[in-house]
Each structure stands twice: as structure tokens, then as C-alpha cells.
Amino acid sequence: MHMTAATLGLATATFLASAVEFVEAFTIVLAMGLSRSWRAAVTGTAAALLALTAVTAVAGVALIQWVSESVLQLVIGTLLLLFGLQWLRTAILRAGGLVTLHDERAVFRAEQEAARRAGHQMRLGLDWMAFVVSFKGVFLEGLEVVFIVITFGTSATRYNPHGLLVASASAAVAGLLVVVVGVISRRPLSAVPENTMKYAVGLLLTSFGTFWAVEGLGYFGSGESLTWPGQDWAILGLVVGGLGLSRLAVAGLRRTFKTPHPAG
């Protein structure tokens, strides 16, 4: 695989995956900020970012110091495979018309409505609900970004010694872009083609996850990572195979349930 193309692919995949997560986290924080308290929402976000940094640092040191490469591939690959398959499954069901398309405005309205109905409980001088909901939203979405950056970044170090840096920078740019656009517009980023992005990211996560989990299975044999036929080119094969299978599934669902083609 050409080094520049691989690096560009890595940057794009990480950017898209992270952007989807950041948009979802932003919607939650915005809803809490506008309907409850900006101070609590921002403090919750900052606390989540601190917790994420701590988890990443502790887990990173533990992984590098005590875990072999094949175990790391197996654990992270399996997690990616689980996230990827669930995203892809949801994207197929949405494209097939069985599940309503994700609408960031609807999520925002629901979050705001729930925030308005909830009682006011103050703790540590903060609107506790706004703090907890913002913290949870940012932490959960951020944890997925951490997994994605570690996996994509580490797997890319084969082509590019700065793979982890490229992945981290792509995620940071995505986060910055979402925050800047969101702060300027002050409304949920519903114009982002989130469903299409989730489809693409689900496909990528599933492909990378399968690739890594299989390599990690080598731990149960000689302890060395297993090798795919065609080595890293197999990732491309997995993406193409996954795309074909998912399109077939979408077509089958639309035919079975006679649903029209969705707009987004």
C-alpha cells in the first residue's frame, strides 16, 4: 500500500469517526448549556476531558508496559469489531428504512425537553443534572474516539512511524472543527451527513477490527501475531467485502419492507 495513500486513508478514517462522536457529544452539551446551565455543562465537559486523559494515560502505560502486541491487537480489535458491527448494523437498518434516520435536531429537542422537566439539584455549586449529563456524554463519546485513535494510529505505524500522531491530530482537528462550527452556529450540527458518515465509519471499524482481532488470535498459538493472506492489502478486501454485503442487505430490507430510498 502506498505510504501517502495509507496515511491519507488513516487521517480521513480517524477524522470521520471522531467527527461523528464529537457531533453527538456537542449536541448533548449544547442542550444542557442552553436549557440548564452553561457553567455546569462546560465544567462537566472539562471534567470528562480530564478523566479521558487520565484513563488514556493509565491504560496507555499499562498496555505498552505489560501487554504483548498480539494481546493488544486482540483486545482493541475485538472492541473495534463490536463497535463497528453495531454502527454498521444500525446504518444498514436506517438505510433499509427499518429505523428512523438519526436526526441531531430531534436528539437536541429530546435532550432539552428532558432537561426542562428534570428538577434542579445543586451540588458543588453546580446544576448537577447538566454537569452529569455533559460529563457522561463527552466521556462515552470520547472513549470511543480514544479506541479509534489508538487502533488506527498503532496499525498505521507500519507505514508511517508517526501514525499515532497523525491519528491524534486528525481527531483533534475534527474536535476543534465541531466546536468552532458549533459555537459559531449555536445550534445542533444537523447539516453534518451523520448517517452516511456512520455507515462509512462502521464499515472501516468493522474492517480494521476484524483485521486486528484475527492478527491477535496468534496469542493463542505461538504468541506471534497471525498473518492475513495478502497482508495489509486484506484490509482493502475487508472494506470492499463489507460494502458489498451491506449494500445487498440494504437492498434486501428495502425490497422486503417496500421502503422508499431515504433522503440522507
Binding site: 463490536l82 453495531q86 476484524t210 484475527v214 493463542f220 422486503t256
Partner: protein
């Protein structure tokens, strides 16, 4: 105790989500991969292909299960 329940619930939701059959299927497919790896005479080059095929079947099976659930629910 309540903390443990909440903690377990959080990780279950985070990792397994709303389609338990996907998680169970992935574990089963990887288990088959380990079984093949530990079986004498099995070509190691076949294992990735079997797992990839298994992942496709897990996705297909989960979609079929969802279709059945919705049909039963009247959609």
C-alpha cells in the same frame, strides 16, 4: 453494591449495546478461530478467511433477528 451494578451496567451498555447477538456472535467466531489455530493440520492461512466469513454471518444473522423482532412487533 449499587455502584457495582451501575458500573457493570455502564460497561455492558458501552460494549454490548442493544444487540447482544452481535457481541455473542463475535465471541463465538473468535472462539472458532482459536479452535482452528489449536487444531493440528489446519492451514493458518484459512483462519482469517473463516473469521471474516463468520463476521459477515454475524452481521447478517443480527439483521435477520431484527427483521423477525419487528415482524413480531407488527412493523
Amino acid at each position: 453494591m449499587r455502584f457495582l451494578v451501575r458500573f457493570s451496567r455502564f460497561w455492558y451498555d458501552f460494549i454490548v449495546g442493544d444487540a447482544w447477538e452481535v457481541a455473542a456472535g463475535v465471541v463465538a467466531v473468535l472462539g472458532i478461530g482459536v479452535g482452528l489455530l489449536r487444531t493440528d493440520g489446519v492451514n493458518r492461512g484459512v483462519i482469517p478467511l473463516v473469521v471474516a466469513l463468520g463476521v459477515g454471518l454475524v452481521l447478517g444473522g443480527s439483521l435477520l433477528a431484527e427483521v423477525r423482532r419487528r415482524r413480531r412487533a407488527g412493523r
